[in-house]
Symmetry: C4
Subunit: 245 residues, 4 copies
């Protein structure tokens, strides 16, 4: 494998950060496109996010087949990642989660997630909902084939994310810092919009960002400051773990 | 006693994990059927869950009498466990809790808990509510006799769980990892369904898993990944406690 | 001073435990009647609860005057404690807090806190609301005189607790373990009743404990198990603090 | 630079405390007026609040230009601070945050934040909402010029705080302990009022502090006790960080 240790470490930071923020529990995963080969991506072996280390990161082709399995268990839903990278050349990082306040938005078809603030403005680019019943009846809810992965990717289309009914969400972005920040702030938006809706009451006014505001934020926003925080904290955490051994 | 240290350790992991997830506070308990004698079960002496160690685990017969009491205090509600093992040969692990978001579901008779996602799909097998007034007026709310234990078991019947009005829940499963995961995800389902109901409003649409989806998930689902996480964390925690002495 | 170190330590455990459970933040306090002199009580000097140590505990008479001030700052609302001990010979421990989910119950006069479960059943004995406007217009909200303390005690009367409008609550009990557990479970009841009310909707059914159930629980309930947990944790915490010095 | 180390340390305590209380996440900032020059203020370089140390504090003039940049990154919204100090000679400390329960109040124009208790009584002095659309269409939501800073300051006027629509809040006070406490308790008020509104239902009664109560509290309230707690905890935390190196 040709990957840089630093990129792999970024992926570990992403796993740990999403677990720390309770965006991932024992399930869910994050991947990045291979930094030197656009036809491959990096993803952990099947493992709870907060346990992932550099040694657990594996390489996959865009069919979501491992390059060098060596007997390791694989996430059954790795096809989400492969198909997103295949259909979206602009995407270099993917999160699949079951973020606690997002699941309820996925099962209430008459309620839409909206951008409530600048950090959540990417939602204004569109967050459709994937209904697995449109593609498979009596599903076990998982995306465990390339075909289901393609179905999901067709719903995501050119958007930054999709909710998955009765399941969670998929978030796609140009790099790891952005996909992590968007995953965190998608959950934040859900919490804040939920509260605003209840306070406003049925038919009450809730002011979300308009298209011109969304466009203005998207033009300039990057997430260097949170990423610096997340990376610093995870590296400290990993240092402490090493010392405890 | 003939039990394997490893099984006992699993039970300690279950206690600590349920306390960590705030499924148990100072009260509530988890048991497992004796690995070598189906007419016995293992349960801690009366102790707050997060304090339980291997040395606190005791052996009981199916009348919920201790095999070797040695002056230790017993949980007054141990009869829940004995009667569940007696009536359900398929059950090898039992949790009794007062999970924070579940209690409100137990006291709102017109609101039903539902499976909102794959990890909560076992709820689709049925979660009835036990009303102690149907069996005893002016109860002190506890299951402190074999008769009350039998009453509760008759309401659980062949289901994976029952809510207990003004009290909490009982969850039963084929093994410790499953009963712990189901206990965690029953609470998660309650949180997410509560939010979805409020967002949808009275009469609004909330899409829960249908019977074919529940059946498809049940056919394949096991909880090896969360169990690996829980076990890893508790063992690390116990190591740290030992070092601190 | 004649007090036993062990009783004083219990009071420190109470302060720390209530801070750990976020029943107290930087404000609020807990006292106990002097173990050997019923005309005195023990209370910390003015200090945030999680910082309280054995050395901070002071002795007061029932007028809430310090026996031996030695220049230390005093809680301005210590009169709550003195007047409760004066009016209630059966009371040996008092908590005053601004528990987060309780404050909203104090300002919604048409909503009543109710016992939702066995651990919260003491609420069924009655929890009136103290409206300071009934005694003082333009108040700064605090109980900073013996007269205001007597006013509050007159509203508490023979009950285990009272809410204080726009302020918090006072909880009184026969001993420290009970007053701590009741303070924790008053907050839990508020959280669970809030959820149940919202789920049931206006006019919907919420089943709380009836008088016979409340009476049955009160006859037997003590809080030895949570107290053992709380004490164990605080002592461990204090040990760790000592080692860190 | 002439500043006292102690004042700078206070600012670090403010950053860490607001992060600990989740009033600030990776974003947001707190400043203080220079203790010896009223035409300058102190603010961290662009950094996530929980990472700020004494070495990161920089000095700015009231145009929000750094006195001695030395290549460091600057918060893009530092103009909030400069313009508040310029327009309000009585202000010596400023917080800008995106406090989680406050954002929903900023986007629900028909819902007003109110003082629910003594610690939140400053809200009774008035908390207007800044709508950036009144000053700039298609904004990227940030206060990144002196002009936008002046616009915001004109909405704050003589009040202790303003909400910022789809963004967060600005809080101004006479010193660092007060601005930190007000920031914490603005969030607490939002949580408690949200709950009270839902419990009372549409048109239901919620009793907030009246003007005479607000005035009486304002006359005497200071936040020495929480500040002592916050300072003690952060200093301990910084000691532990030093030891870990």
């Amino acid at each position: 494998m040709e990957r840089h240790i630093d990129d792999t470490l970024d992926l570990v930071v992403a796993y740990r950060t999403l677990a720390d923020h309770r965006i991932l529990d024992a399930y869910g995963h994050v991947s990045m496109r291979h930094p030197e080969r656009t036809d491959r991506f990096l993803l952990s072996r099947a493992l709870a996010p907060e346990l992932v280390t550099v040694d657990d990161i594996m390489e996959f082709d865009l069919e979501s087949q491992p390059i060098d399995k060596r007997g390791r268990d694989l996430y059954s839903e790795r096809f989400i990642h492969g198909e997103m990278y295949k259909s979206r050349p602009d995407v270099f990082a993917v999160v699949h989660n079951h973020s606690p306040t997002i699941v309820p938005f996925s099962i209430t078809p008459d309620v839409k997630i909206k951008p409530v603030s600048a950090v959540t403005s990417f939602i204004g680019l569109g967050v459709p909902t994937f209904e697995i019943r449109d593609f498979q009846r009596g599903a076990d809810m998982r995306i465990i084939t390339n075909e289901l992965g393609r179905n999901l990717a067709s719903v995501v289309a050119d958007k930054p994310a999709a909710l998955m009914r009765g399941h969670g969400a998929v978030i796609v972005a140009k790099d790891v810092p952005t996909v992590v920040a968007w995953s965190v702030y998608l959950e934040v938006a859900a919490q804040q919009l939920f509260q605003a809706m209840l306070m406003a009451g049925p038919g009450g006014r809730v002011i979300t960002l308009d298209d011109s505001e969304v466009a203005a934020v998207q033009k300039r926003q990057e997430f260097g400051r949170p990423w610096n925080l997340f990376r610093t904290k995870v590296l400290k955490q990993m240092e402490a773990e090493k010392r405890a051994l």
